[in-house]
């Protein structure tokens, strides 16, 4: 996998984040290549979600730069909406729009951001619903869907914008165990199709199977990184070993 500039999808340079006096991110720098699946793991409070949210400026980094597909996201005059349209995000609490049906949730952004016609957006939306296995739920409202179904609709909604990279902020942490599998299956098929993914998660089985690269965060810094086999089997840091011994 080449390291030329064209292959770098997301680059973070020395990201620092303060919440009042709390130094939550202490200089995170990393690169995510096109087509890579990168997992971020670590104990609670290590700053994983904060880091992910800094990348599309849902949280404003206190300092540092974020570059996504060549565009400097942290630039003061950047067209943030345009950048965000290229980054898909899936949240722990799904955040589906409760006043819209599943298909309406999915076609909202393509129509109002990309100017797609209702027909186009609906067709593509149905294709995505088929992909996540929920065609028959197209006209259901979120409160009529189970957690796993909602999350799959949320993934379809993010995919509807045809993003270049997908961020997942603990996508299965709010799900009952029997529904985690169906969501992970969707994520696996996305990875197989070559989507660049950045996943904050505790699902070690999934990560071991699918991730190309793992970042281990603790106390606001990346304490270790590498391929899953290497990190899980031969962790070099003591803190990594401590953390892994608790979760594996």
């Amino acid at each position: 996998m080449g390291e030329e500039q064209g292959q770098v999808m997301v680059e973070a340079v020395e990201i620092h984040k303060y919440f009042k006096d709390l130094h939550v991110l202490r200089g995170i720098s990393t690169r995510i290549m096109r087509g890579q699946v990168v997992a971020i793991i670590g104990p609670s409070g290590s700053g994983k979600s904060t880091f992910l949210r800094c990348l599309n400026r849902l949280e404003e980094p206190s300092s540092g730069e974020v570059i996504v597909d060549g565009i400097e996201v942290t630039h003061p005059r950047v067209d943030l909406n345009k950048v965000r349209a290229e980054i898909g995000m899936v949240f722990q609490s799904f955040n589906l729009f409760p006043h819209l049906t599943a298909i309406e949730n999915i076609k909202l952004a393509p129509i109002h951001v990309r100017g797609a016609s209702d027909k186009e957006a609906t067709e593509r939306g149905m294709v995505l619903l088929k992909k996540v296995g929920l065609v028959d739920k197209a006209n259901a409202f979120p409160d009529q869907l189970s957690g796993g179904q909602q999350q799959r609709v949320a993934i379809a909604r993010a995919l509807a914008m045809q993003p270049k990279v997908m961020f997942f902020d603990e996508p299965t942490s709010a799900l009952d165990p029997e529904m985690i599998g169906e969501v992970l299956d969707v994520m696996k098929s996305m990875a197989r199709e070559g989507m660049t993914m950045l996943v904050v998660s505790h699902e070690m089985g999934f990560i071991r199977e699918v991730a190309d690269h793992i970042l281990i965060m603790d106390g606001g810094i990346i304490i270790e990184e590498g391929a899953p086999v290497q990190v899980f089997e031969h962790p070099t840091q003591l803190r990594t070993q401590n953390f892994l011994s608790k979760v594996l």
Partner: protein
């Protein structure tokens, strides 16, 4: 007496519920009870002393009768074995008897009261001015409501931009308007503005004052509705690439709508009542029209008529807004 709910079982010879009923003690049958109630009511109407000032013995008779009715109705309504409709009928009968006793024996001079407050003669030919006043009331109320709600919505959306200067101005506006009694606001708009060259007709100044008042309350209602929407909704919408304004229009406001309808409808009902305050600005709305008739006919019946008209409009309005509130609640709840 507990009656088991049994099915029809003539083959085995076991008694059905109906047969149990037939064998009940005769004085507990529903028909008998109902008949007794009717007898009591008829006695109240025709056989109680027909005088406004009963003597001592007559009072004893009346009190005894009342207690009897009370006891009878009480036993009917509190007995769980009796159907609920029976309790309802008994309660209605009781209210009727009570009202009748009050009417007869409370010593009120009903005919005099009717002459003063419900005088048909006074109102003859005066309905048209009263209804013209009502028309003005409705005009003012509807215009102020629309303008006030729109202004309030705009103010709330501006507040959501979190610009500190804008926020300061809006907060000052809302605080001043809400702290000013409406009648003072109307008086200031009507009497003071002309001194700075702003000359508005009476009706327009009434509408202006009511709009200002409504907009302040409406903006707070909308603001709290907008803020009640889970932050995750905004995050999801923004991360799809939707702008701030599009997020507000497509995601936040549709959800906030359900939250704001109850307080908003009660504010608007209050607005309709507040139109009466505009009478101090010489606007001839319903109240002032009624006062004018009262002044030249020297009889307060027009005021009673105006009150009744207010009730006829406001009670259905309140019921309607309650129904709306219930419908909003049974639909989708707020974001998860």
């Amino acid at each position: 007496m507990i009656i088991p709910v049994a099915c029809d079982d003539k083959r085995t010879g076991r008694r059905t519920a109906h047969e149990h009923y037939e064998r009940r003690l005769w004085f507990r049958r529903y028909a008998f009870l109902g008949a007794m109630l009717v007898v009591l009511v008829l006695y109240a109407i025709f056989l109680l002393p027909n005088t406004q000032k009963p003597s001592r013995t007559q009072w004893a008779l009346i009190t005894g009768f009342f207690l009897l009715v009370l006891a009878w109705v009480g036993s009917l309504t509190t007995d769980d074995e009796k159907p609920t409709w029976m309790g309802a009928v008994a309660a209605v009968a009781f209210l009727f008897v009570f009202g009748w006793l009050f009417y007869r024996y409370s010593g009120a001079q009903w005919s005099k009261l009717v002459f003063v407050f419900l005088n048909k003669g006074v109102m003859e030919g005066e309905w048209v001015p009263l209804l013209e006043g009502l028309w003005v009331t409705l005009e003012i109320a509807i215009l102020s409501a629309i303008l006030g709600v729109l202004t309030g919505l705009i103010l709330a959306v501006l507040r959501s931009l979190n610009n500190w200067m804008l926020n300061l101005i809006i907060i000052a506006y809302v605080d001043v308007i809400r702290a000013t009694p409406l009648i003072v606001l109307v008086v200031v708009v009507y009497y003071a503005l002309p001194y700075v060259g702003i000359l508005l007709s009476a009706v327009l100044s009434g509408i202006l004052a009511l709009t200002l008042n409504c907009s302040a309350y409406a903006s707070e209602i909308f603001r709290s509705g907008i803020e009640s929407i889970h932050a995750g909704q905004v995050e999801a919408s923004r991360s799809l690439g939707l702008s701030s304004m599009k997020t507000m229009r497509l995601v936040i406001l549709p959800q906030a709508f359900r939250v704001v309808v109850p307080p908003l409808t009660s504010t608007l009902t209050g607005l309709l009542k507040d139109t009466a305050v505009c009478s101090v600005a010489s606007i001839v709305e319903l109240l002032r029209a009624a006062l004018q008739i009262q002044a030249w006919k020297a009889n307060p019946t027009p005021l009673i008529a105006a009150t009744v008209i207010y009730l006829l409009i406001l009670i259905p309005l309140t019921r309607l807004s309650n129904r709306l509130e219930v419908r909003m609640k049974t639909r989708l709840g707020s974001a998860r």
